[in-house]
Symmetry: C2
Subunit: 418 residues, 2 copies
């Protein structure tokens, strides 16, 4: 078999370490020129494949590719573009295969969350049917941590570390000020459907911080919440609240609901923190401060967890090695072999078992009162935030993050109407 | 002269490095037992002196005191409590002197911003009048960076680094997503009266980020702002906006005041960031994300600037050495001797020239269009964010921050009515 080219794309919300996976894919592929020719990256994700906007990564220097490991965001551009089902939009899938054919692409590495695992699975099915073999490998990525089978999802560990550390630091601040000023600090974190990120904020309980966590998994009970906060303030003089953007009232309305929707029709959230802060102020009169971490949390490469960076890289590398070994329609996974000390190895899962399966946070990770996390949850989380992996800084004091040249390959096909 | 005890207190909003100054004060005093006996720290700042709640720092281990250097927040507690003028509340000043007398305190180290410099100045004046000599030394601290004479104020450099780095990271994220999703990212930063912190966000312009900065020094011109943002989005496909919490309309109202009320008639609090984001969405239709950094920015010891930590420590150390050398009613300062490479030394300023003088951001630091910073501003800022100074982390992956034992000295005086 002569060397085939590869296609790599980043999908959905980016993270502090998705480029570390890209680095793992490209560096590993470069070591196997007999098996893999060029690696083309989709400009802005899968849209780059559909529109034949393919970045020729062979024109990026080894040095720049190495620096991807330390650079947050999606270096080739990502997109929020969900491919419809094969029945609804066969044309798009056929176009993908055409583009792959035109550019002699035999490997499809798709770096994303649940939706892209599904797309990746469909591509592998269709390529079989169309008689043009493409090995489709899904590289897991999502701060939502909701992919099945894998121990965790790259991107999550770094957000978890950022939120745990930031919550601790801000809590120390409030503790200093509580005597005459702020007694309540509210930090809003990502996690629309699952409280994984909010749970990370709950770790500060182990550091003597009075903390209340609001999860999307638990209906917001205003009365019980206020009583819990008040008891903590009466005991400690202050209280920290970690609120997930997905926290909702018993009738299902998000605390944060702004009335706008994104392209997938999801309600656009943001602003649960001021709502919670004002509920406390109105009922209990305590002075508050609030923060909304938003993109800062998932972009914070300056505080990435070492285990997250290592796993992101290892999964990219493993994806390529599995493809070379002949695997198709699979996702490399992280398998936890020990908690303390944390040990893990790479496994793999068939995409048929990954696509359309969402891993929720186990209810046994949430404490009985619904406002904190259990010992089992802490045992799961700590290994994911262990270790630091700092980027280099330039003489100005700013981190050295790399930008790709992003030179496109000449097009060979007619335009495609999206 | 036999050794006198010292009193140290933290005042106002705390920072990532005010404890580094405390560390400098205590470690240096411990080296001069012939001149300085015990160091008592005010529990919750100056209130601790008025109420005679004095923490005996001699009961804290050398190790714990050393770790103060790496611990954010105010380890002894701070307070927002402004002493009135001597005429209005002589009683309080007299009480301070009484407490100092009762505990044989001959040194007063006050670690704070403009208000505490004023208090410190008054204590030095009054102690002279009352015939009980107290050497009053002000150790500068404020993220607002508005103390005169000193090149900068400890605490500011670390916030500036955090905001510059976070703005860069989030901008990379938006750049990745802009094709199909978020095109506007708004980050709200502290600085009610001065745009120093917002200016730090403007540094990302040097890293190819299209950025618009909104300063409290510049009246918000909605039309001009929208045109500037739109031009940047049309050119770069996205735009980052750094908005100071003090940004205001021409009539003086803060952007953060929304003028809306909830069902109970309470004024609805929101930040400036969501207001700016919605102004853009309404006029230009671009999808946005926004973050409010709040306490995260001033507590972020995990990303402190090395020059800031070093200066905070050096100023605490210098304050003690100056006191031992006989100085009174002064503030040690940072004197910049070179920009590139950054070099500085310790100077001193009489408190009579510090008290009640606010250093504003020079208008020549703001670009002509009012939405960015000038080369002179960058030359001033970069040295302050240079270098990293990471805390240690524990096995869980959390930073090692120290908590004081905080054991109080026995009281010797009757209660004081505050």
């Amino acid at each position: 078999m002569s060397a085939k080219n590869a296609f790599y794309a980043q999908s959905g919300g980016v993270t502090a370490v998705i480029n570390a996976s890209a680095c793992g894919v490209i560096e590993t592929a470069r070591k196997h020129p007999d098996k893999i020719g060029k690696i083309y990256a989709g400009q802005n994700g899968i849209i780059g494949a559909l529109t034949e906007n393919l970045i020729d990564t062979s024109l990026e220097s080894d040095q720049d590719i190495a620096e991807l490991r330390n650079t947050p965001s999606g270096a080739f551009g990502s997109c929020r573009y969900k491919m419809k089902s094969l029945e609804e939009n066969l044309k798009e899938y056929e176009r993908l295969i055409e583009v792959f054919k035109a550019h002699d692409i035999g490997y499809f590495f798709y770096n994303g969350g649940g939706d892209s695992a599904d797309t990746c699975f469909k591509v592998s099915q269709l390529s079989e049917k169309m008689g043009y073999p493409v090995q489709a490998i899904h590289i897991p990525k999502t701060v939502d941590n909701d992919l099945p089978i894998t121990d965790n999802c790259p991107g999550f560990g770094s957000v978890a570390k950022y939120i745990a550390v930031s919550t601790l630091e801000a809590s120390y601040d409030v503790r200093s000020m509580a005597k005459t000023s702020t007694k309540i600090f509210v930090i809003e974190v990502m996690g629309r459907h699952a409280g994984w990120i909010a749970a990370a904020g709950g770790l500060v309980e182990d550091y003597d911080i009075p903390v209340v966590v609001l999860f999307p998994e638990v209906e917001f009970d205003q009365e019980k919440f206020l009583a819990t906060v008040d008891a903590k303030v009466k005991k400690h003089d202050y209280c920290t609240i970690v609120v997930s953007e997905g926290t909702h009232w018993p009738d299902g309305r998000f605390l944060a609901e702004q009335g706008t929707r994104d392209d997938f029709g999801h309600a656009q959230l943001g602003g649960a923190a001021p709502v919670v802060a004002n509920i406390i102020k109105d009922a209990l009169g305590y002075k508050f401060h609030w923060a909304v971490a938003d993109y800062l949390q998932r972009a914070a490469r300056h505080l990435s967890s070492k285990s997250d960076v290592e796993q992101a890289y290892a999964l990219g590398k493993a994806g390529v090695e599995m493809a070379i070994a002949g695997d198709n329609s699979i996702m490399p996974t992280v398998v936890r072999t020990s908690n303390n000390p944390y040990a893990w190895e790479i496994g793999k899962a068939p995409l048929s078992e990954v696509a359309n399966v969402e891993k929720m946070m186990p209810m046994e990770y949430i404490s009985e009162d619904g406002f904190g996390i259990t010992a089992a949850c802490k045992e799961y989380l700590y290994p994911l935030i262990q270790g630091e992996d700092y980027p280099d800084y330039d003489d100005n004091g700013m981190p050295k993050y790399v930008t790709m040249k992003g030179i496109l390959v000449d097009k060979k096909l007619p335009e495609f109407e999206m």
